[in-house]
Symmetry: C2
């Protein structure tokens, strides 16, 4: 493991000029109704609208001038694509983003808006990887994986570090888990900067690979996939699982109704726009008062890049 | 006119313990695409989710102990209802809120949640006023009008005062206009604390009473009413019109499509939840670059109490 307290501190210093120090918000009415003292780290207000800029920027800034001259590449239909495109723009290097042909046009436009070259591929894992490999072979660009990459994990670790600095007496932090980049970064950030801080994760029942992997100790697939938390569809890697196994207290599953109710609470009470993936840890806390009640609980609100046309579906019928 | 620089300062001091000092947000991408330097005063993050707590709290705090003992009363289906209910709760006095029978259940529940007594009436102006008068006769409660009240206007004036303190070199401020409480308060706040600050208002074409009144010089009705900006359906009073006539540079009309496009921009770029009424001044600025380009323009984002089930309608089809 090359990630250390010093390396996370160095990552924080490295990316500082390029990112926002996002606010930590609290909400009296949510605290009153839940009996939990929540601290929301608002990465929805981050550059590119998500925490992913931390890892993407850190990985890009660690490249040599020779590597940077050849560009960066990744495959992603989500926020990591925007992160790498934005990093490429800031650093004046070419970015190649492989996106599945099913990507919403708004996301493709956002990535192109940062000057990235978008390469479309069939919407399956094999096509993604082959297309990416072709790009890398042709251009010599450096592949920065969305989460199976130590520099990316190190960058994501800076988020909980900021949260700890702002709320030093935090008891627990909860993140969502998809591929595990943020969760493993959060584990390491907590381990090095506040070892007593407990780390939990929230995961949708409709993308329950991480909880299975956490229990069996090997990378598992989700039994079925069906969730509005579409940022959490990816699967852990050996790298992220190893860190998560060592440091995470538990991974808590939540239903779609619980996600929608939590989403509604955040929009109605906090007046902020967040992605459904964000509220999975919040929903996990709300459904387990026996664990979280009376505690100071940090929630990393991971991003706010929503497709507004989905609002009708998400908020169709009150669930509370 | 009993409202003065000293009285607005006193109002600010009076309500300070009970309200939030709301943040002023800026957004680089909105500034880049518009060529306008916007400063958004985020009253959607205010107590009760709207600026109305300023006027409601100021009026309530100015009552004598004898008046307070008999309670406060108002008619409103919107944020002023919540403001008076919340003020009543904080001050330990009874609040009586007359609401039309067509009020959304979520708003009725919010008002009741602050411990107010809600009295339903037929959804017309005569029924509102009669029902309110009955309550006042029976209880001796003090009626605090949503905007036709100097103490309320004085309280609303504290918002632009805070904005000026945070952005001293502001060129222009724009507010929405419904009954004119916020607009006339903003006029007086600007007049006393930064006389060079120009005041504009934005109004929906589908509720265009204020612009007609501003031009004719007497209180006019809207030619037709049809807008998603449902906080702006009320009509100016003689009191608010007099202030507006003296101090406002212009009232700018916007269409429903312009409101929706502006709403979409705020949600997508700023990741915050605001009411459609909020974005009317923002839409007014975007459509008139010849007036606002290159200027430092303050926008009071008045509130964030939205009915989430409306999202499907507001964001149905992209308008930009």
């Amino acid at each position: 493991m090359k990630i250390s307290k010093d390396s996370i501190q160095a990552a924080a210093d490295r990316i500082k000029p390029y990112i926002h120090k996002t606010p930590v918000l609290t909400n009296q009415s949510i605290n009153e109704l839940s009996g939990i003292e929540f601290y929301f780290k608002c990465e929805n207000f981050q550059k590119i609208g998500a925490f992913k800029i931390r890892g993407g920027m850190n990985a890009s800034l660690k490249l040599s001038p020779e590597q940077l001259a050849k560009g960066v590449a990744t495959h992603s239909s989500g926020n990591h694509a925007q992160a790498m495109a934005f990093a490429g723009k800031l650093l004046g290097t070419k970015s190649y983003i492989v996106m599945p042909s099913t990507s919403p046009q708004v996301k493709v436009n956002a990535v192109k808006g940062y000057g990235a070259e978008v390469i479309m591929c069939e919407p399956n894992q094999q096509a993604r990887e082959e297309t990416l490999q072709n790009i890398v072979n042709k251009t010599g660009a450096t592949f920065v994986h969305p989460y199976d990459n130590d520099d990316v994990i190190e960058g994501q670790a800076t988020c909980v570090k900021e949260l700890i600095e702002e709320v030093p007496n935090l008891d627990i932090v909860i993140t969502p888990v998809g591929g595990g980049g943020l969760l493993s970064g959060t584990c390491l950030g907590a381990h090095f900067f506040k070892p007593s801080l407990q780390v939990f994760a929230g995961e949708p029942e409709g993308a329950a690979d991480a909880v299975l992997s956490f229990k069996s100790g090997k990378v598992e697939k989700a039994p079925f996939v069906n969730t509005i938390a579409d940022g959490l569809l990816t699967t852990l890697s050996e790298r992220t699982l190893a860190i998560i196994k060592e440091h995470v207290t538990d991974i808590i599953l939540v239903t779609e109704d619980e996600i929608k109710a939590a989403l509604r609470l955040i929009y109605e009470r906090m007046k902020i726009v967040v992605e459904p993936s964000c509220v999975v840890p919040f929903a996990a806390a709300l459904k387990n008062p026996e664990i979280f009640k009376g505690k100071k609980v940090g929630i990393i609100l991971t991003g706010g890049n929503v497709d507004l046309s989905k609002f009708g579906e998400w908020f169709a019928a009150p669930t509370h």
